[in-house]
């Protein structure tokens, strides 16, 4: 039985190989019953190895988590209250979470394809720091009288435009140099600019009123709790329009073979890279302005997606990355809203105090641990 399990674990081996050379045949099976169960197990194993079934399973898990988020605590209540709760309280956060998951999943996988690196996220280009810089600048320059601007649609649009423009400036080296060198220049310029904006932000934050700083502090952590419905709508439109420009998944597959091979195969590497990076810029800007910085979510989602799907094909890795980020976000939000606020948890784990845990803390905690595991793995591979 031990050997049998090993073959199941070894999911790299396709089914045909299992049939011809698997150790199963070397095990002396005396009863026909055992043989039959083996066959059934093999079939089940093969089913779970198919990318399509994995996609279905991930969607099912997400549907479950979404339903839990939407309907938890509503069963048995009067219909009006259920409707009110759903439409007024849970619909907009729900929409925002879906949009952010789409942005994060799509942008991280394509960014990693363009840069040919599995431990990068678009975050290295400094979107989050630019976002915080703009918010801080508004408060710093205009003062608390204009505080309402922060949550307005205007601020949202200004932030998105500014992030896309700065990202566009960073992409210029890509336009002029192209190739691997272009990608490295892009990353270096991005890192320098993001440090620059972070330093300016800190400087301004030291100078502003402590009360105003509190407002800013709330923006430093992402939150889905009360998005403005107009902002959600605008984001949805921007995201949809951006996704219209997506190249075919098969072209992206070729792109992941690297510059030289993709040119030899007839794919315009420079043009494709720029096109994808501009899309990434738009998507990341929208998701950052909508919910705040999400450092490790993309890294977690993209890499788990590669690990689960065990394929390079973007038509599988992108949807699964989106599904995984949605599962992470919905689970996190559910824990914050319902589990961490339940009396039992407060009593026994938080020691009687009610603690609000920002979702970023949870995602970055899980994502950070996963990142360290990834780094160690890459180091092992390099050896």
């Amino acid at each position: 039985m031990d050997k049998l399990e090993k073959t199941f674990d070894d999911s790299q081996a396709p089914l045909e190989q299992n049939k011809t050379q698997s150790p199963i045949e070397t095990i002396e099976v005396t009863s026909t019953k055992k043989k039959k169960t083996n066959k059934v197990l093999l079939k089940i194993g093969a089913f779970f190895k198919k990318p399509y079934s994995k996609l279905v399973i991930c969607s099912a898990v997400l549907a479950g988590v979404m339903a839990l988020y939407l309907f938890y605590g509503l069963l048995g209540l009067p219909r009006e209250i259920i409707l009110f709760d759903l439409v007024e309280l849970r619909l907009m956060p729900f929409a925002a979470m879906v949009l952010v998951s789409v942005c994060v999943g799509y942008s991280t996988v394509t960014f990693q394809t363009v840069t040919n690196a599995r431990i990068l996220t678009p975050g290295v280009l400094g979107f989050e720091n630019i976002y915080m810089f703009i918010q801080t600048f508004i408060v710093f320059a205009l003062g608390s009288a204009y505080m309402f601007l922060i949550s307005g649609t205007e601020n949202f649009i200004i932030s998105v435009v500014a992030m896309v423009v700065v990202a566009g400036l960073i992409f210029i080296p890509m336009l002029t140099r192209g190739g691997t060198k272009g990608v490295f220049t892009l990353l270096l310029v991005g890192m320098i600019l993001s440090t620059f904006f972070a330093s300016l932000t800190t400087l301004m934050q030291y100078r502003i009123d402590p009360d105003e700083f509190l407002v800013l502090q709330a923006l430093m952590f992402p939150s889905f709790s009360s998005p403005n419905s107009r902002i959600v709508l605008v984001s949805a439109i921007i995201i949809l329009v951006t996704l219209l420009f997506t190249p075919s998944a098969r072209r992206m597959d070729v792109l992941s073979l690297g510059r030289e091979t993709s040119i030899s195969l007839g794919v315009n590497h420079k043009f494709m890279s720029i096109r994808l990076l501009v899309m990434v810029a738009a998507l990341v800007s929208v998701s950052t302005a909508l919910a705040g910085p999400m450092m490790f979510l993309g890294l977690l989602a993209a890499n788990l997606s590669y690990q689960i799907m065990k394929t390079h094909k973007h038509k599988y890795t992108i949807p699964v990355a989106i599904l995984i980020s949605a599962v992470a976000v919905f689970t996190g939000q559910f824990l914050i809203e319902h589990v961490f606020t339940s009396p039992w948890i407060i009593e026994n784990i938080f020691g009687g105090r009610s603690i609000t845990v920002p979702i970023a803390v949870m995602i970055n905690f899980v994502g950070g641990i996963y990142f360290i595991i990834l780094l160690l793995k890459e180091r092992k591979k390099a050896k």
């Binding site: 070729v254 091979t261 195969l265 590669y306 390079h312």
Partner: protein, 277 residues
């Protein structure tokens, strides 16, 4: 047919290619040789559209290569660089299947599958088609990449040092395969190669570059001469006829060269072990 006209490429102020003009014959293996930094790879990269030249043009079938559409030229010319690294995990067959991309745009037909299997067979990699690329040795990797090029089924193939990382047996079998491809299917192969004996044994024509300039374009017979090699590589050598092939012996012993610079012995020969330098 590839035609190069007045090609110049600079890295900074250094001219890596200096006004190179030549044309490659169809249906042959042409070897590009020369010392390190002579501009061989640069020339090949310009032909493969990986690098932009500063001056001059590359013509393919009489038409400037810039005017071709990417998808169109990928059906006619395939190229392979020395280092091919990527971060994704692929099986051998998946990588070879990418060779069909210019033709089928990723939607593999039955015919594509047949061509892929034949390419794997051709490179004798069928038995490991489900292995992952990162589990292969350097030589096997190289063969898989050639199989991808074979599956791409272009009439022109540009290879940058296909013998890199290959041992004696593998490099000779690689050259035999390339020779077969040319003889059987009338394809044109242009390779950058360091081993001039390999170039002499297997190619129809040898093109030598030195400091970015075209030195000679000749048959192996004409090329394999002591004075020619001395001029191109600045190495003393001796040419010998071995079983119908011209072989260049250059691991010589400087001490026992005679007055005219002709080499007499190989390196470390017993005759001059006692002689002072």
């Amino acid at each position: 047919m590839f035609e190069i006209k007045n090609l110049t490429k600079r890295y900074g102020t250094r001219k890596v290619l200096d006004n190179v003009s030549l044309s490659f014959k169809t249906g042959t293996i042409t070897s590009l040789v020369g010392a390190n930094g002579a501009g061989k790879s640069t020339l090949l990269s310009c032909m493969a559209r990986l690098l932009k030249q500063d001056e001059g043009d590359v013509f393919f079938e009489g038409k400037n290569i810039k005017e071709f559409k990417n998808a169109e030229i990928a059906k006619r010319v395939a190229s392979l660089r020395q280092n091919n690294t990527f971060s994704i995990r692929l099986t051998v067959r998946e990588l070879v299947a990418f060779g069909r991309f210019p033709h089928s745009k990723g939607r593999l037909t039955k015919k594509d599958d047949e061509i892929i299997d034949r390419a794997l067979d051709y490179m004798s990699m069928s038995h490991m088609k489900d292995k992952y690329i990162d589990q292969l040795s350097g030589g096997e990797r190289q063969r898989v990449f050639i199989a991808m090029i074979v599956a791409q089924d272009t009439d022109h193939i540009l290879l940058d040092e296909p013998l890199n990382n290959l041992d004696m047996k593998q490099s000779s079998s690689m050259m035999k395969i390339l020779r077969n491809i040319v003889d059987e299917t009338k394809k044109t192969i242009i390779i950058v190669i360091h081993d001039i004996n390999c170039a002499s044994c297997y190619s129809d024509e040898i093109v030598a570059l030195k400091n970015g300039k075209l030195m000679i374009q000749a048959t192996p017979e004409e090329f394999m001469k002591e004075e020619v090699i001395k001029e191109i590589f600045e190495v003393d050598c001796k040419i010998a006829d071995v079983a119908g092939n011209k072989i260049c012996v250059y691991h010589n012993c400087e001490n026992c060269a005679d007055d005219e610079g002709k080499v007499l012995h190989s390196h470390g020969c017993a005759d001059c072990a006692d002689k002072p330098l």
